[in-house]
C-alpha cells in the first residue's frame, strides 16, 4: 500500500510473544498430522471461541468441518486446519484497505474508540507513517475531557515533529475540531488527524457529541472526514460488536485499527465484527512505539492467529 514498508518479520516479531500456548496455537497442534475425530471437531469449536471469534462463527465453522468430514471431503486434521485457515481468510476478501485521501485539500482522519482502546498511541503510529511518506500532518486534540489527554498528544506531536491544535480543558471538542479544520486548510497540510475522547458507546450524549465533531469538520472541508477509524483493543470480547455497531451509527466508521495485538489476545473479535457489520480492518498495532503499526493483511493475520 506504499504507506508502510512491508516488513513481514515485524508482525511476526510483534506476535511472537503470543506464541506461548494461546488457544489457536493449540488448534494447529491438535490438528496438523492428526486423524480427525468427532471429539477433535468439538475441540475446534472450543478453541475458536477462546480466540474471541464469537460463538456463532465458531459453531458455523465447526458445522462446516463436520459436514465436510461426513461427506469425506475433509479427512485429516491437516485438511481441517487448511480448511479453517481458508475460511477465516475468506472473511476478509480482497478489498480496499487503504487510507482514502482527499482529491484536493487536507485529508481528515477522525479517530474514535472507547476509553483505553489506544486511540492516542494509534494516532502517533498513523501520524508517523503518514509523515514518513512525506505528507505534512496536523493533529487536533479534541479530547478536552480526560485529565492530561491534550498533554499526552502534545508529547507525541513533539516527538514526531508535527503541530497540534488544541482547545481548553473541558471545552467543546467540536469547536476544537472546527478550529483544527480551519488551520488545516489555512496551513495547507496534507492530513488532519483528529483525536477524540474515549467514550463508552452506551453513553448516548457522548455519541451525539462524536456525530457533531464529524459534522463540523464536514462543513469546513468537503467530504471530511475521509476516514473514520475505530480503535478496538485486541483483548475485547464480544462486546466489540456493539462498539462497532454504535460507533458506526454515530460516525460512519470506515475502518478498524486493531490495537494491542502484541499480547496473547488474538483479536478474533474482528472476525465477529466483519461477520456482523462488514467493516474492514485497516491497521494493526503491535507495540508501544510509533513504528509498531502494520497494514492489515488477512493471510498473515490468520497465520499469526494460528502461529505457535
Amino acid at each position: 500500500m506504499g504507506l508502510f514498508k512491508s516488513v513481514f518479520t515485524k508482525i511476526k516479531d510483534g506476535l511472537s510473544k503470543t506464541r506461548e500456548a494461546g488457544p489457536t496455537a493449540q488448534l494447529r497442534n491438535i490438528l496438523v498430522g492428526k486423524a480427525l475425530s468427532a471429539e477433535l471437531i468439538r475441540d475446534i469449536e472450543k478453541l475458536l471461541i477462546q480466540a474471541d471469534v464469537g460463538i456463532k462463527t465458531a459453531i458455523e465453522l465447526r458445522k462446516d468441518i463436520q459436514a465436510g468430514w461426513e461427506r469425506s471431503e475433509i479427512n485429516t486434521g491437516t485438511e481441517a486446519w487448511e480448511f479453517l485457515k481458508s475460511q477465516l481468510i475468506a472473511y476478509f476478501p480482497d478489498e480496499d484497505r487503504e487510507i482514502h485521501f482527499a482529491e484536493t485539500g487536507p485529508t481528515v482522519i477522525l479517530v474514535a474508540g472507547i476509553n483505553g482502546a489506544g486511540k492516542t498511541t494509534s494516532i502517533a503510529k498513523i501520524t508517523k507513517s503518514l509523515r514518513d511518506e512525506g505528507k505534512t500532518v496536523l493533529l487536533a486534540a479534541c479530547d478536552t475531557f480526560r485529565a492530561a489527554a491534550v498533554e499526552q498528544l502534545e508529547i507525541w506531536s513533539d516527538r514526531l515533529g508535527v503541530e497540534v491544535v488544541k482547545g481548553k480543558q473541558g471545552g467543546d471538542p467540536a469547536a476544537v475540531a472546527f478550529d483544527a479544520a480551519d488551520a488545516a486548510v489555512a496551513r495547507g497540510v496534507d492530513c488532519l488527524v483528529i483525536d477524540t475522547a474515549g467514550r463508552l458507546h452506551t453513553q448516548e450524549h457522548l455519541m451525539r457529541q462524536l456525530t457533531k465533531i464529524k459534522n463540523v469538520v464536514g462543513k469546513k472541508i468537503p467530504n471530511a472526514p475521509h476516514e473514520t477509524i475505530l480503535v478496538i483493543d485486541a483483548t475485547t470480547g464480544q462486546n466489540g460488536i456493539n462498539q462497532a455497531k454504535i460507533f458506526t451509527q454515530a460516525s460512519d466508521v470506515s475502518g478498524i485499527f486493531l490495537s494491542k495485538l502484541d499480547g496473547s489476545a488474538r483479536g478474533g473479535i474482528v472476525i465477529a465484527i466483519r461477520e456482523e457489520l462488514n467493516l474492514p480492518v485497516k491497521f494493526i498495532g503491535v507495540g508501544e512505539t510509533p513504528d509498531d503499526v502494520q497494514p492489515f493483511d488477512p493471510p498473515s493475520f490468520v497465520e499469526a492467529m494460528f502461529a505457535e
Binding site: K17, I114, G116, R159, L200, G263, S264, G268
Partner: protein, 505 residues
C-alpha cells in the same frame, strides 16, 4: 450493564418456571441456552462449561423435578452458583443481614500501601483517582504516586486527578500527589525507574503521615517479561499491603491469560473491574474470581470521580437474573441524603410546607445518584424492559432550569405565579410556557400528596425494603411489574409507619 446476559438467562429459565412439571430434558435444554448465553457474554469457555455442569448436577440430583415450583427451585440453584462464581455469599449476622466487610484492610501504623497493576488502557489511573475519592470520603488521607513513567503525560494526568479529588470530592481526608515527571522517558528507556520513584513515594507518604499510599503503575502486557519484572521489583521494594489488578469489564477470553500471568507474578489481593457501566455482559466478572481466586473489590461505573462501587457478588447475581438490586439503590440514596435531611424534609411534607427549593434539591439528589436508567434498572423485574427505552436525563436538568429561573419568593409560594410571571420564567429558562405550567401543576400535586402521605416518606419506605434479602427479592421477580406492584402496595401500610414514628417520639 449486564442487560442482554440477564435477558437470555431469564428467557432460558422462564421456560422452566412456567411449567408445572419439568423433565430432565427440559433442564438440559435450558442449560444449553444458559451455556451459550455465558459464552456470548465472554465467560471463559471452561468456566462456562463447569458452571453448567454444576447446576445440572444439582438440578437433577435434588428434588427439583418433584418440587412444587421447580422453576423457582432452578432459579435458586442458578442464583447460588452465580454468587459462588462471582465471589461467594457474604457472611450473615444473627438476624440474617450481611456483615459489612471492608474491601480494604487498613494497617496501623500507616501508610497502607496499595499498588495498581494491569494491561494498557484498563483504567488504572482513573481508578486511582476514584479510589482516592472513595478513601477521602471515608476520612482517610491519601497519597497518589505516579509510577507510570512510560505513557506520555500519565504523571500529569494523575496529578490533575489528585488535585481534582482534593478540591472537589467530599470528605475530610487530604489528597497528596507524588510524581517525578522529569524521570519520564520514551517507551522501553525508563524500565526500572519506577522502583526508585515508588521508594521515594513511600518515604514521602511516611513523612506526610498519610493513611493510604496509592501507587499507579504503567500499563503493560503480561507477556512482556522485562516490564513484568519491573513490576515485581516495585512490589518487592515497597511491599504493598494490597495489589489490585485492574481489568476492563469488556475483555474477552484472553482475560484468563492476563489475570493468571499477573497473579503468578504479583500475588494479587483483589480485582477492580472498570467500564462496568458499558453494555458488557459481565464475562470477565464471572470469570476472574474463579481464575485468580481473589475477590473483585470494586467496579467502575462511570466517568465521574465518585463512580466507583464496592462489589457485592449476590447483588450482581440478582441483577443478572433480572431480580434487581434494591439494596444498592437504597445505599445510593442513603449516601446522598443524611438522616437529618430526610427527617427535616419529612416534617415539611407533613405540614404541607414543601417549597420549590426542596423540590429542586430532590431533583439534584436524584441526578447525583446516577442516570435514571441505571436507577430504574435496579428495581426488580424492570431491568430488561429498559433496554430500548431512551430516558432523557436532560429532562431533570430542564426542570432545574425552570425552578432556578424563579425568584426566591416564587419558590416559596407557587401561588404567586401568575401568567406574566410564568412567561418570564419560561423565557428565562428557555422553555415552553406549557412546561412551566406543567411543573407548577405537578408540584402542587406532589405537595398535596405528600401532605396526605405524611409520615411515610419515600425514604422510610425504601428503607423498609432494604431489610429484604436477595431471597425475598427473588420472590418478586417473574411477572413484569410485579415488583413495582409490591412497592405500590406498601403504601397501604402507611399508618403503621406513622404510628411507629409517633411511638418513638
Amino acid at each position: 450493564m449486564l442487560g442482554s446476559l440477564s435477558e437470555k438467562f431469564e428467557g432460558a429459565i422462564r421456560k422452566l418456571s412456567g411449567q408445572a412439571t419439568i423433565s430432565e430434558s427440559n433442564v438440559r435444554e435450558s442449560m444449553e441456552e444458559v451455556r451459550e448465553a455465558l459464552l456470548e457474554a465472554d465467560v471463559h469457555y471452561e468456566v462456562a462449561e463447569e458452571f453448567c455442569e454444576t447446576v445440572l448436577t444439582q438440578a437433577l440430583g435434588e428434588e427439583v423435578l418433584q418440587a412444587v415450583s421447580p422453576g423457582q427451585q432452578m432459579i435458586k440453584i442458578v442464583h447460588d452458583e452465580l454468587v459462588k462464581l462471582l465471589g461467594g455469599e457474604e457472611a450473615l449476622d444473627d438476624e440474617g443481614r450481611p456483615i459489612e466487610v471492608q474491601p480494604i484492610m487498613y494497617v496501623e501504623p500507616g501508610p497502607t500501601i496499595i499498588m495498581m497493576s494491569g494491561l494498557q488502557g484498563s483504567g488504572k489511573t482513573t481508578t486511582c483517582g476514584k479510589l482516592a475519592a472513595y478513601l477521602k470520603k471515608r476520612g482517610k488521607s491519601v497519597m497518589l504516586a505516579a509510577c507510570d513513567l512510560q505513557r506520555p503525560a500519565a504523571v500529569t494526568q494523575l496529578e490533575v486527578l489528585a488535585n481534582q479529588v482534593n478540591e472537589e470530592a467530599e470528605g475530610a481526608g487530604k489528597v497528596h500527589f507524588f510524581g517525578q515527571p522529569e524521570k519520564c522517558a520514551e517507551y522501553g528507556k525508563a524500565v526500572g525507574v519506577a522502583v526508585e520513584v515508588a521508594n521515594q513515594a513511600l518515604e514521602a507518604a511516611r513523612f506526610n503521615n498519610v493513611d493510604v499510599l496509592l501507587l499507579d503503575t504503567a500499563g503493560r502486557l503480561h507477556v512482556n517479561d522485562e516490564l513484568m519484572g519491573e513490576l515485581r521489583r516495585v512490589s518487592t521494594a515497597v511491599n504493598p499491603h494490597q495489589i489490585y489488578l485492574v481489568i476492563d469489564a469488556m475483555t474477552g477470553q484472553d482475560a484468563v491469560n492476563s489475570a493468571k500471568a499477573f497473579h503468578s507474578q504479583l500475588e494479587l489481593d483483589g480485582v477492580v473491574l472498570t467500564k462496568f457501566d458499558s453494555d458488557t455482559r459481565g464475562g470477565a466478572a464471572l470469570t476472574v474470581k474463579k481464575i485468580v481466586g481473589e475477590p473483585i473489590k470494586f467496579i467502575g461505573i462511570g466517568e465521574k470521580l465518585d463512580a466507583l462501587e464496592e462489589f457485592h457478588a449476590s447483588r450482581i447475581a440478582s441483577r443478572i437474573l433480572g431480580m434487581g438490586d434494591v439494596v444498592s439503590l437504597v445505599e445510593k440514596a442513603q449516601e446522598q441524603v443524611s438522616e437529618e435531611e430526610a427527617l427535616a424534609l419529612q416534617e415539611k411534607m407533613e405540614k404541607g410546607k414543601l417549597t420549590m427549593d426542596d423540590f429542586l434539591k430532590q431533583l439534584q439528589t436524584i441526578r447525583k445518584m446516577g442516570s435514571m436508567k441505571s436507577l430504574l434498572g435496579m428495581l426488580p423485574g424492570i431491568g430488561n424492559q429498559l433496554k430500548d427505552l431512551n430516558l432523557d436525563d436532560k429532562q431533570i436538568d430542564r426542570t432545574q432550569a425552570i425552578i432556578q429561573s424563579m425568584t426566591v419568593n416564587e419558590r416559596k409560594d407557587v401561588d404567586l405565579l401568575d401568567n406574566s410571571r410564568r412567561r418570564r420564567i419560561s423565557k428565562g429558562s428557555g422553555s415552553d410556557a406549557k412546561d412551566v405550567s406543567q411543573l407548577v401543576k405537578g408540584f402542587e400535586m406532589v405537595s398535596k400528596l405528600s401532605q396526605q402521605m405524611s409520615g411515610a416518606g419515600m425514604m422510610s419506605k425504601v428503607k423498609s425494603m432494604a431489610g429484604m434479602g436477595p431471597s425475598a427479592l427473588a420472590g418478586m421477580r417473574g411477572k413484569h411489574g410485579h415488583g413495582l406492584a409490591k412497592t405500590k402496595g406498601s403504601t397501604k401500610h402507611k399508618p403503621k409507619f406513622k404510628q411507629k414514628k409517633r411511638k418513638k417520639r
